[in-house]
């Protein structure tokens, strides 16, 4: 092992308890930082999963208000529109209120074609499309409740009263880790026909339309054309990209997100202060040694480098353990809050941020001690031994 590395390692573990406690602090901070960043990512999962080729058209007043079914034909005629599919939020309860999962009534094969990230076998897709009461569930959702193909799933309607029984015909897998596998889909026609039979005035209404466009760069123009089409109608529309639509939901809880992000950075700041104190103490204890090295002929940069390397080394070692521990902690956390965060995984970006945070902690903590050690006069440093 090269001399410099040997010196740095031995210095780092000179006070084992101090180094261990400092590293433990960094581990906890990096895990907490990673977990909070993962929560923020989970919040944005819908935004991240959105496609640039999809627009959402909804009632301009609010998403709560629906739009007439006959808009579909007009939407298809707007230049640039490739495909249209309507959907409704169902908002039912499976057994008890605590079993929350999103349920959507969707229009036919069009909707599924527009969401290639929901991967369904051809056989199951066909089985779903031919069954009026058929339903599709995400893999995580099916696993959670132990559903199998062919199972009857009773859901008590809250917006649409009554007990609705669906037959599970397909289970989709997400194309990647960002795909939400906790959603539940069934036929919009089944919902519409039933509603029309029970509450005739509520029939033929669509919550929102998903619109596939041919050219993503034309999204703004197409959105304007769509909204212009329904200008001065009883249900004016607001069309935006799927990403903007999802961001609208995130914006409702933005204050919480800002708070979480702030806390994640405060944690890094706190550990930075703790680490800086440790390194300052360490360097102060070794002034005589640094002065001796400088007297022997080692330069200021070498002495400063020793402190930087030790500080960054400790921070990165703690950071590595912290990153490794983030995965089981995030898994446990995500499992416990699967209803709230259907997509919960530690992203590569989060890991990179954790590495950067650990490095930053090490570098910042060493700045002042390294500067002092490098600039202390040899004669003053040598006096520190007496």
């Amino acid at each position: 092992m090269p001399f410099v590395l040997r010196l740095i390692l031995r210095n780092a573990f000179r006070h084992r308890l101090r180094t261990t406690l400092t590293m433990t602090g960094i581990v906890v901070a990096i895990v907490a930082f990673g977990l909070l960043r993962t929560i923020v990512d989970a919040w944005y999962a819908g935004v991240e999963a959105s496609a640039s080729t999809r627009l959402i058209t909804r009632n301009a007043i609010s998403l709560v208000f629906s739009m007439p079914l006959n808009y579909e034909q007009k939407l298809r005629q707007v230049p640039g529109v490739a495909s249209v599919a309507g959907a409704n939020w169902f908002g039912g309860v499976y057994i008890t209120e605590s079993n929350f999962f999103p349920q959507f009534a969707i229009q036919g094969a069009n909707f599924l074609d527009m969401y290639p990230e929901f991967r369904i076998s051809a056989e199951e897709r066909k089985a779903y499309l031919v069954d009026r009461q058929g339903a599709i569930a995400g893999r995580k959702l099916a696993d959670k409740y132990g559903w199998k193909i062919g199972d009857q799933i009773p859901i008590r309607g809250t917006i649409f009263p009554g007990t609705w029984t669906f037959t599970l015909r397909a289970i989709y897998d997400g194309a990647d880790a960002k795909t939400d596998e906790t959603q539940f889909f069934f036929h919009w026609t089944f919902l519409n026909e039933t509603v029309k039979a029970r509450f005739p005035r509520r029939g033929d209404q669509v919550g929102w339309y998903v619109i596939e466009i041919r050219d993503p760069t034309q999204a703004a123009e197409i959105s304007q054309r769509i909204d212009a089409t329904f200008k001065n109608s009883l249900a004016e529309t607001l069309t935006e990209t799927e990403k903007a639509f999802q961001l609208g939901f995130v914006a409702m809880t933005e204050a919480i997100l800002v708070a979480i992000q702030a806390v994640s950075f405060v944690i890094v700041l706190i550990i930075m202060a703790v680490m800086a104190n440790t390194m300052a103490m360490t360097a102060r204890e070794r002034y005589a040694e640094y002065a001796t090295m400088k007297a022997i002929g080692f330069g200021n940069a070498f002495v400063a480098g020793l402190i930087f390397a030790e500080s960054v080394g400790i921070a990165l070692a703690g950071g590595a353990v912290g990153i490794a521990l983030t995965f089981p902690v995030a898994n446990a956390f995500g499992g416990a809050l699967a209803t709230l965060f259907p997509v919960f995984f530690v992203s590569e970006e989060t890991m990179l941020m954790q590495v950067c945070a650990a490095t930053l902690v090490g570098v910042v903590a060493a700045l002042i001690p390294a500067w002092r050690a490098a600039h202390v006069k040899i004669v003053d440093g040598l006096r520190a031994v007496a």
């Binding site: 001399f3 040997r6 010196l7 031995r10 210095n11 000179r14 005589a288 040694e289 001796t292 090295m293 400088k294 007297a295 022997i296 002929g297 080692f298 330069g299 200021n300 006069k377 040899i378 004669v379 040598l382 031994v385 007496a386």
Partner: protein, 230 residues
Amino acid sequence: MNDGTDSAPLVAIRGLGKHYVRGDQIIPVLVDINLDVREGDFVALMGPSGSGKSTLLNLVAGIDKPSAGRILVAGVDIAQLTDSELAAWRAAHVGFIFQFYNLMPVLTAFENVELPLQLTSLARRDRRERVENALSLVGLSDRMDHYPNELSGGQQQRVAIARALIADPTIIVADEPTGDLDRVTAEEILDLLQGLNRELGKTIVMVTHDPKAAGRARRMIHLEKGVLVD
């Protein structure tokens, strides 16, 4: 002050002054020092506390800078060198022996002695050979893998002497090398220094309070209130 011989001195100090500024006050530490040290000399700097002897030693060793005057060591005016030039100069020309040994506690005796050689381009095998010879010279061949806290004070000072010797410096500076040792051990260390001077021809400048230690030197120089008195 010179030693009365005509050959060019290894260390030539001319009009050397050093003062500290504290607020509005200027505190003189050394005043108009003129001193020659010949190659192979063993000089003891003596004087009461605060007389400026350690300051003079630090200036000769290039770890402090004078306020006035010149210090020529082997023809180089070290007062004119920049910090980085001084560091390189010290690495090549000065061996240090401190009162409290100043060994790196995380390095073994071998590694402590090897430390100055890390600044050279010597191959690992050559370094090892040199370190083993140096430790053998100070009688610590059997303590090479011991850490400083596993050695007695005298043994630590021997390691420090080996470290001072290892790069074959032009001059060895020793600041109270026996100040932290008992009488018997101090005598052993002084024997060693005297041997280095007499047998290997090493030039040594030593600061000491102890007249017995100073008696081992070839020459004694007294300082009082920053002025050479004899």
